[in-house]
C-alpha cells in the first residue's frame, strides 16, 4: 500500500530571544509514517507537542532537524527543507489542513471561503460553489449564512466553515487539528462520516482529537506523542 507521508527523526525547539534566549525543546526524534487510507491520531497530554507536529507537517513551523517526506504528484518532497513556492504548491494539490480556528478574511462570503481551495486548483467558480454548498448543507450550516462572511458566526459555525474548506479538495494528505472541538453531537457525527469517506478514498489523515468518542470512531492507530518528548530522548 502507498505511503504518502514519512516523518523521520524530526526535532524542534523554540528559542525565545526576548526572554534571554531561553531554549525550549518541543519534540525530538519524531519518526512515523502514514499509509494511504489510514487515520493516525496524535495522542498524549496537552503541551506535549501534538499541534507543533501538525504545524511542522504543514510547513507552518520550521523544522530544526530531520525530514518530512511527502509524495507530491509522484515526486518525493522534503517539506522540512523545501522552498516556499514548493511548500505552497504541495499545499495546493497534496496537503490539506483543518486548523482549530478559522482565519477570517474581511468581506469574503462563507460559500466562497469554502470554494476557494477548489478554485485555486483551477475548478470554475460556479462548480466550486456547487461543491461548497453540498458540504455546507451536509454540515447543517443554515443556508442564510452562506452569503455572509463568517466573522460574526458562533464558534461551531466558524468551525464548520473551516471543516468544509479543508474537506472540499481531494488532497492525498489531510491534517486535522481538533476539527470537532466546538461541535454538537449531530455535527460531530457528520465529521466522523466525512473522515470515513476520505479514508475510503485513500487519503492519509493525521489528526488531534480530544473527544474520545470521535477518536475511537476514526483512529486506526494512536501515536503517543509523549514518546517524542525531548527530555525522554536525553535521558
Amino acid at each position: 500500500m502507498a505511503t504518502p507521508l514519512v516523518v523521520s527523526e524530526v526535532a524542534k525547539s523554540f528559542t525565545m530571544h526576548l526572554r534571554d534566549g531561553i531554549r525550549r525543546p518541543v519534540v525530538a526524534n519524531v519518526s512515523f509514517s502514514v499509509k494511504a487510507g489510514e487515520c493516525v491520531v496524535l495522542g498524549g497530554p496537552s503541551g506535549v507537542g501534538k499541534s507543533s507536529i501538525l504545524k511542522m507537517l504543514y510547513g507552518n513551523y520550521g523544522v530544526d532537524e530531520g525530514q518530512i517526506l511527502m509524495d507530491h504528484d509522484g515526486k518525493l518532497v522534503n517539506l522540512a527543507t523545501a522552498e516556499p513556492r514548493t511548500v505552497l504548491e504541495v499545499r495546493r494539490t497534496t496537503l490539506g489542513y483543518v486548523s482549530q480556528f478559522l482565519r477570517v478574511v474581511p468581506r469574503v462570503s462563507s460559500l466562497d471561503i469554502v470554494a476557494e481551495p477548489l478554485q485555486a486548483r483551477g475548478v470554475p467558480l460556479e462548480e466550486a460553489r456547487t461543491h461548497a454548498a453540498e458540504l455546507l448543507n451536509k454540515l447543517n450550516l443554515p443556508r442564510e449564512l452562506w452569503s455572509l462572511p463568517p466573522a460574526t458566526f458562533s464558534g461551531g459555525e466558524q468551525q464548520r466553515v473551516n471543516i468544509a474548506r479543508g474537506f472540499i479538495t481531494d488532497h492525498k494528505i489531510l491534517l486535522l487539528d481538533e476539527p470537532t472541538a466546538s461541535l454538537d453531537a449531530k455535527n460531530r457525527a457528520v465529521v466522523v462520516e466525512l473522515i470515513a469517506e476520505k479514508k475510503a478514498k485513500g487519503t492519509a489523515l493525521i489528526g488531534i482529537f480530544h473527544d474520545e468518542e470521535v477518536r475511537d470512531a476514526v483512529a486506526d492507530r494512536i501515536l503517543d506523542v509523549s514518546a517524542f518528548s525531548p527530555r525522554k530522548a536525553a535521558a
Binding site: 523554540f14 528559542t15 525565545m16 530571544h17 526576548l18 504545524k55 510547513g59 507552518n60 513551523y61 520550521g62 516556499p84 513556492r85 511548500v87 505552497l88 504548491e89 478574511v105 474581511p106 468581506r107 469574503v108
Partner: protein, 258 residues
C-alpha cells in the same frame, strides 16, 4: 506554473555615500508570487524597492528581468527609453501617496486611459470602455469617470491608482505601503480588492509594508529587513508563526491583539 523566475536579484547593495541603504540582497521572484518586504522605518525596504524597480541604480549587484520575449535583461544596462516603456506596460508601481502615481488634474477616466494610450491604444471608444470597466472593478462608480482625483477620498484615489497600474495587464507590480495613511475600514476593502485582483490576474507583486497583518493577508513569502540587510525570509505564515531571529520575534510580539 512557470519554471523560470520573473525577477532575479543577485547581491544587490545600495550605499548613500558611506551610509548603507541596503546590502547583499538576493532572491528570485516567480510569476504569481507575492513577496512582502517588512521592517521598521529606515530598515532599507524602500531603498530596496527603488533598486528593484529601476528608480535607483544599485551600487553593486544585478537585477535581471525576464522579458516577454523570453530573454533576461540586466535592468541597469537597459536604455532609458526601454526602461520607461517597461514601467508603463509590463510593470506597475503603486505609491503610498496616490498623488505621486496619479495625475491629479485630469479625469479619473483619463488617468486609466493614459496607460492604455502608452501601449498604443488609439480608439477613444475602446479606451473609455476599458477605463470604465476598470473603475467598476476597483469599485468606483461610473458616474465619477469624468471627475478629477482631486475630488476623490483617499481610499478612492488609492483604488484609482491601482486601476491605472493594472489596466495594461502588467506582470509585476511594486507597491510601497499601499494601505498607509488609510483608515482601517478603507484598508480592509482595499486589501480585499488587491488580494482578489492579484489572484485573478496571476500577478507577481512586491509589497513594502510595515504592517504585518497586510503581509499576512496578501503575501506568500516574506523578507524581514533590519539595518539594510535581509535577516530572515521564508513562507509568510512560517515567518509570522515561528519567527526565528530576535528582531523578527520582537516585531511579531509587538502586534497588538484586538
Amino acid at each position: 506554473m512557470s519554471t523560470l523566475p520573473l525577477l532575479k536579484v543577485n547581491d544587490v547593495s545600495k550605499f548613500y555615500g558611506s551610509r548603507i541603504g541596503c546590502r547583499n540582497v538576493s532572491f528570485e521572484l516567480y510569476a504569481g508570487e507575492v513577496l512582502a518586504i517588512v521592517g521598521e522605518s529606515g530598515s532599507g525596504k524602500t531603498t530596496l524597492l527603488s533598486c528593484l524597480s529601476t528608480r535607483l541604480i544599485p551600487t553593486s549587484g544585478i537585477v535581471e528581468y525576464h522579458m516577454r520575449d523570453g530573454q533576461y535583461r540586466d535592468l541597469a544596462r537597459m536604455g532609458e527609453a526601454e526602461r520607461r516603456f517597461l514601467m508603463r506596460t509590463d510593470w506597475g508601481f503603486v505609491h503610498q501617496n496616490p498623488a505621486d502615481g496619479l495625475r491629479m488634474t485630469v479625469s479619473a477616466g483619463a488617468n486609466v486611459g493614459e496607460r492604455l494610450m502608452a501601449v498604443g491604444d488609439r480608439h477613444y471608444g475602446n479606451i473609455r470602455a476599458t477605463a470604465s470597466d476598470w473603475l467598476e472593478r476597483v469599485e468606483i462608480g461610473i458616474d465619477r469617470i469624468d471627475d478629477q482625483p482631486r475630488a476623490f477620498s483617499g481610499g478612492m484615489r488609492q483604488r484609482l491608482q491601482i486601476a491605472r497600474n493594472l489596466v495594461t495587464s502588467p506582470r509585476l507590480v511594486f507597491m510601497d505601503e499601499p494601505t498607509g495613511g488609510l483608515d482601517v475600514s478603507v484598508q480592509a476593502r482595499l486589501l480585499d480588492l488587491v488580494r482578489g485582483l492579484v489572484h485573478d490576474l496571476g500577478l507577481a507583486a512586491i509589497i513594502v509594508t510595515h504592517d504585518l497583518a497586510v503581509a499576512r493577508l496578501l503575501s506568500h513569502r516574506m523578507m524581514v529587513m533590519k539595518d539594510g540587510a535581509v535577516i530572515e525570509q521564508g513562507l509568510t505564515d512560517r515567518v509570522l508563526d515561528d519567527p526565528r531571529e530576535p528582531y523578527t520575534q520582537l516585531l511579531v510580539s509587538s502586534i497588538l491583539q484586538v
